[in-house]
Symmetry: C2
């Protein structure tokens, strides 16, 4: 245990109550006033340390000082929240000095938040805040206990007197039920838009979208047969499809289309962000689809598909949009710049929150 004791002791020293003569704590990332950012990594043994981040075109190399601290300052970065990681002698690692980490089932990157000169829509602002509740529900469809997150708006009335519309918001493949809040700041986006009167006070439910092992259609069953009844039994929810929306990103964007269009009686708003649709479920639902467009266009008050022109799914998403238009389904596409990123996810969500439940 000697090593692990030593490690614990070092962690304690780093823990912020270090005396003057002890080694300095590394602060990384350090966002400067001009939006340039200094990233640091400590290693006396590494031969090469690179920085990879979604604010960079290509990885850049850090330089090492005599004390073993590697660092680089990246010039002014456009205000947003970006994932990044170090690559130490070829091995990807999260920033050990950054608490904020990308909630994911695979390699977990770190996150850096570049503030705007004026607070951004996803920034923590001095407005009333909602709460995020982590809770467990029993999924009969998947025969397991699952966790979901529930955002309740500022000044939420738990008494049941006030009823709220509900957005079901799905993460991307390999993300988790925490990614929309921990990476997407969905709660701050909602807080700010509600404070500005641009979004209706609403409940946002963030389920866990991945089914291990697949088939993914089981998630559609989970949402419709387990998640929705659980929420409606435990929260003061407005009845009717005009008070129910579904949205999701990437794999979750594909799930949004599958869940939404096989249940147009249940969802008045369907918002799909950069959908991944190369799935058996999508093929089954839409390849030989002969929808009654008139009925669906009455039921669905808003159907949007959003994507960035640099998204590696852009061509595929354009085909999706064309397919729905060809079937005479009323659709409001949102085409922006940028790639298959959580930077765009925040923009897509902020747009949808101002359009649903109106």
């Amino acid at each position: 245990m000697k090593n692990s004791k030593l490690i614990v002791f070092i962690l304690l020293l780093l823990g912020g109550f270090a005396k003057a003569q002890r080694p300095p704590v590394i602060v990384s990332p350090q966002v400067h006033a001009d939006k340039s950012v200094t990233f640091k990594y400590f290693s006396k043994t590494a031969k090469e340390v690179k920085l990879s981040g979604e604010f960079l075109k290509d990885p850049v190399s850090l330089s090492k000082d005599t004390s073993g601290v590697w660092s680089i300052t990246v010039p002014s970065i456009s205000p947003d929240i970006y994932p990044y990681n170090f690559v130490v002698d070829g091995t990807g690692v999260a920033d050990p000095n950054n608490t904020r980490i990308f909630a994911n089932e695979r390699f977990k990157r770190s996150i850096v938040d570049i503030p705007g000169d004026k607070p951004l829509i996803h920034s923590l602002q001095n407005v009333p805040h909602g709460k995020i509740t982590y809770q467990l529900y029993n999924s009969k469809s998947l025969n397991t206990t699952r966790q979901l997150l529930v955002y309740t708006p500022p000044n939420f009335d738990a008494s049941g007197k006030t009823k709220y519309p509900v957005l079901y918001l799905i993460h991307g493949g390999s993300d988790t039920e925490e990614t929309w809040t921990k990476v997407g700041n969905a709660n701050f986006i909602a807080d700010n838009l509600i404070a500005q009167g641009k979004a209706k006070p609403m409940i946002i439910v963030m389920p866990y979208g991945n089914v291990r092992p697949a088939p993914m259609p089981d998630f559609t069953k989970d949402v419709v047969n387990d998640v929705i009844p659980f929420i409606e039994a435990n929260y003061p929810v407005k009845a009717g499809s005009e008070n129910r929306a579904v949205a999701g990103f990437s794999v979750g964007g594909g799930q949004t289309l599958n869940i939404g269009f096989t249940n147009t009686d249940k969802f008045g708003y369907i918002c799909s962000y950069a959908p991944f649709t190369a799935t058996e479920e999508f093929k089954k639902n839409f390849d030989n689809w002969t929808p009654n467009a008139d009925v669906i266009n009455k039921q669905v008050k808003l159907f949007t598909i959003s994507v960035g022109t640099d998204d590696f799914l852009y061509e595929s998403v354009k085909k999706n949009i064309a397919m729905f238009e060809e079937k005479k389904i009323k659709i409001k596409p949102l085409i922006v710049s940028g790639g298959h990123t959580w930077m765009n996810c925040k923009l897509f969500l902020a747009t949808s929150l101002q359009e649903i439940f109106k």
Copy 2:
């Protein structure tokens, strides 16, 4: 963006909807029926991959197969939840295929949960579950907005008719407000003990204990002047010190002693786990302390200090215990085996929950 697109695409492939011909998803860790565990890491370029974990005396080497998958199977591990990480050519990394990660401000390890033959007190069991609420409060003491976590027990009555006692539970230095739930399973421990009738239904508040920059005494102010008033304004809380407890681990164990004994009128239960007390605040509070033991022993219904005999703070904690005994403060020490670990934290909490509010 080509690289990051490729990375996203690979993540999507790994995301669980991969077609047969695509590379297999690595499952790590894999806990087998005999409690042996297989750990895997993929790298075609690494020269050496080691596994470090709190279930191991020393790191062990993984071996690589022709496809670049490194693996090792560790023989039967005693049921518990353990932190671990890989060391790839000398660089510590979390397990990229494990969603569960150690909530911390420094290097974030992965977590493996070895189930018992009978469910352990910290395991998810088929009992009614409480909820964990993430919420923001304004700390006037620290002049900032901070997050805290609030556990509410199963069938929590939000109407205000039922009132609950409150435990204020503090993490260790460099941990975060999430560590007690994400590493310590505090919510499952409470769910299970409440279901067994061994613990009273209670609210557990998990604040963020680190003050950056120090001084740490400011956290005592934050708890007493900001956190407690915020909780008592927003939750149905039983009045009186006999319905208020404070507990914490390591740095949080030291904070528990500082907070508790400078406010014995407010806390009827003080539970300190492996306290780190080499701080200015502790020195100031206890070096020339002349307590009125009779008064304090009436006010404080339970004062416990818990520690493991392998804890690197064991000798220091024994001195703490002796100091309180010498001052005639009634104390109930709990000395167990094991080190300065979250395995012991769970045991300490499970013990305290059965002793407080009785």
